[in-house]
């Protein structure tokens, strides 16, 4: 079954709601058997993209192929082969959790053992609870079980761990890793960089409907123009320490004092920066107890590319009266 052709191929996808462009000329590929994360802030166009792959929406421009099929034209052939976890909802309010899972299981030819899914996802305690009374995390876990129960080749999971406690989050991550090990392709959307960093073989960062960066977590966080240095000293800094340190390091540096003995320094990632911080400590009579050069994170990458923080949701579906690139402009 493994094939050289990608599990998902999106080429020049444009989707707009009225004059609001949700997806603006997006092209990306998902390799078979991988976990691919589509990372971006709320309103970046992640869900619209996923829903186009799932056949819910017709591409207004561009093409989408999933397992080599057109999600609209070849819907009947494609649907049995994919699993979908919606961002929210999907069950009757009065249906019991396990009843819902068993119903979805009965629609498939070779379903997974529902008892195994219930145990593994910790749904046994709420198996007879009506859907409307499940917690957010329980609903998410049930949604994941539903996406997997038909033994699909490819699963789309939209914000799989939203509303989950850390324990459930880890369980979900482990299960998705096992799913990949068994040969299933996973496409997930998230706005949590740690989730993408932990799980994904490949990350596509989307902002305002366009792809702004792509690569493995290591590729994306390698190099870069900046780094974060964490400094903790043995006794309180003298007055005016942040300003003095910034003067020492140069205008490209940001210095933030966290408390009286620690600071975060964000600036050019070169070896001499560490040396200069250390020299500054010597001349100001404090002894560094921690002086670490932080790994560049996806958060840094996103910040560099967009000038915004990833977790700060910006206005959903920004209106774009004048698209910068007319080839991928607003469809009529």
């Amino acid at each position: 079954m493994p094939s050289a052709s990608p599990a998902v191929e999106i080429d020049g996808l444009v989707m707009a709601y009225g004059d609001k462009v949700a997806v603006d000329g997006l092209s990306l590929e998902v390799a078979r058997g991988s976990i691919t994360a589509v990372l971006g802030p709320n309103g970046a166009g992640k869900t619209t993209t996923l829903e186009t792959c799932e056949g819910y929406r017709v591409p207004q421009r561009g093409t989408v192929r999933v397992l080599g099929l057109d999600p609209r034209r070849d819907r009947a052939d494609l649907l049995p082969r994919i699993g979908v976890m919606l961002q929210s909802g999907g069950a009757w309010s009065g249906v019991r959790a396990v009843e819902m899972l068993e119903h979805m299981s009965s629609l498939h030819a070779h379903p997974l053992d529902t008892g195994m899914l219930v145990d593994r996802l910790g749904l046994a305690d709420c198996g007879r609870t009506p859907y409307r009374r499940l917690s957010g995390g329980q609903k998410q876990r049930l949604g994941l079980a539903i996406a997997l129960v038909g033994r699909p080749e490819l699963v789309f999971v939209d914000e799989p761990t939203a509303g989950m406690d850390p324990q459930a989050r880890r369980t979900t991550w482990e299960m998705l890793e096992e799913v990949r090990a068994d040969g299933v392709t996973v496409v997930l959307t998230t706005h949590h960089m740690d989730e993408a960093e932990h799980l994904a073989d490949r990350i596509h960062i989307i902002d305002r409907g366009t792809l702004i960066a792509s690569g493995t977590p290591a590729e994306l966080t390698r190099g870069g123009r900046s780094a974060t240095i964490r400094l903790v000293v043995n006794r309180p800094f003298p007055d005016g320490a942040p300003e003095s340190l910034r003067a020492e390091l140069g205008p490209l540096t940001e210095v933030r004092q966290l408390d009286e003995v620690s600071m975060l320094i964000h600036g050019p990632a070169d070896a001499s920066t560490l040396g200069r911080v250390s020299r500054w400590c010597e001349t100001h009579g404090v002894l560094p107890q921690t002086l670490t050069l932080g790994q560049r994170t996806l958060e840094d990458v996103f910040l560099e590319l967009t000038g915004r923080e990833l977790d700060t949701p910006h206005d959903v579906l920004l209106p774009r009266p004048a698209p910068p690139n007319s080839a991928a402009g607003t469809p009529s």
């Binding site: 049995p80 009965s106 629609l107 498939h108 070779h110 195994m116 033994r151 068994d182």
Partner: protein, 267 residues
């Protein structure tokens, strides 16, 4: 359930596929029928109100000492109450259930499953017919206990007329219920479906013959409610098949289905 050498290749090794249209439709029908019957308000609409109408109507007629066109009150009221039961489930319950299925994303999720849309519709129709059959069994039991005697003139024709009326009535009201549910928000559907039910129960020629409405009866007989009521009464009171009313029901079913197909929004 086959396991398809899952041990050899891992628990989650892909083995995709739908379970076949027949199995999927039956599963969907079972699920929807269970949910309909589990819902307290639906049961009120499906059984309790028709029973109250029947008991109340028979008691009131008995106290007034009136007979209708020479028939015992229970004989004339029973077909109307059966029609009311068909209308409540086919129209009101279907509209409300479907409206909330849209709202809760149930239809969306099923839209990503191997169950095709026509399978979903077939499942819904099957569930509806099961619930209607259960209602009729209960209400016929109550009516018989009250001394109801359907026309003995021509039993095969009575049964044929009943089956045609229930079948076409269910189709007409279900297509209208889906039309409302597919176009409006869930709350608006809830309100409208209940309001229409109440209006038709009182003034739609369901329980009482259209002749009881005077000149308005001329209009009411063209409503799906009036047509269903008349078709039921023709079958059970006169052992005759009311071709015109059945045609009216078939037309409503067709128009409702066409409009639904055009306007239904899945999300």
């Amino acid at each position: 359930m086959s396991t398809v050498d899952s041990r050899a290749t891992g628990t989650f090794a892909p083995a995709p596929g739908g379970s076949g249209l027949r199995r999927m439709v039956l599963a969907q029908a079972r699920m929807e029928a269970r949910l309909l019957l589990r819902n307290g308000e639906q049961l009120l609409l499906a059984i309790v109100i028709p029973v109250i109408v029947l008991l109340g109507g028979v008691a009131a007629a008995g106290r007034l000492g009136s007979t209708f066109e020479g028939h015992a009150p229970v004989d004339l009221l029973t077909p109307g109450v059966l029609a009311l039961a068909v209308m409540s489930t086919s129209f009101t319950s279907v509209a409300i259930a479907t409206g909330f299925e849209r709202r809760y994303g149930v239809i969306k999720l099923l839209g990503s499953s191997p169950l095709p849309r026509h399978g979903l519709l077939l499942g819904k129709v099957l569930a509806l017919l099961v619930v209607v059959a259960l209602q009729l069994v209960v209400l016929v039991g109550v009516a018989l206990a009250l001394g109801w005697e359907p026309s003995p003139a021509d039993p095969p024709r009575t049964v044929l007329g009943l089956v045609l009326a229930v079948g076409l009535g269910t189709a007409a009201f279900a297509s209208l219920g889906l039309l409302v549910a597919g176009a409006l928000r869930a709350e608006a559907t809830l309100a409208l479906a209940n309001l229409v039910y109440l209006l038709l129960m009182v003034g739609g020629g369901v329980v009482l013959p259209t002749s009881a409405y005077g000149t308005a009866g001329g209009v009411i007989q063209w409503l799906p409610s009036g047509a269903l009521g008349e078709a039921m009464r023709s079958a059970l009171v006169h052992a005759s098949i009311d071709g015109r009313s059945l045609l009216v029901l078939a037309t409503w079913a067709l128009v409702g289905a066409l409009l639904t197909a055009k306007t239904f929004r899945w999300e």
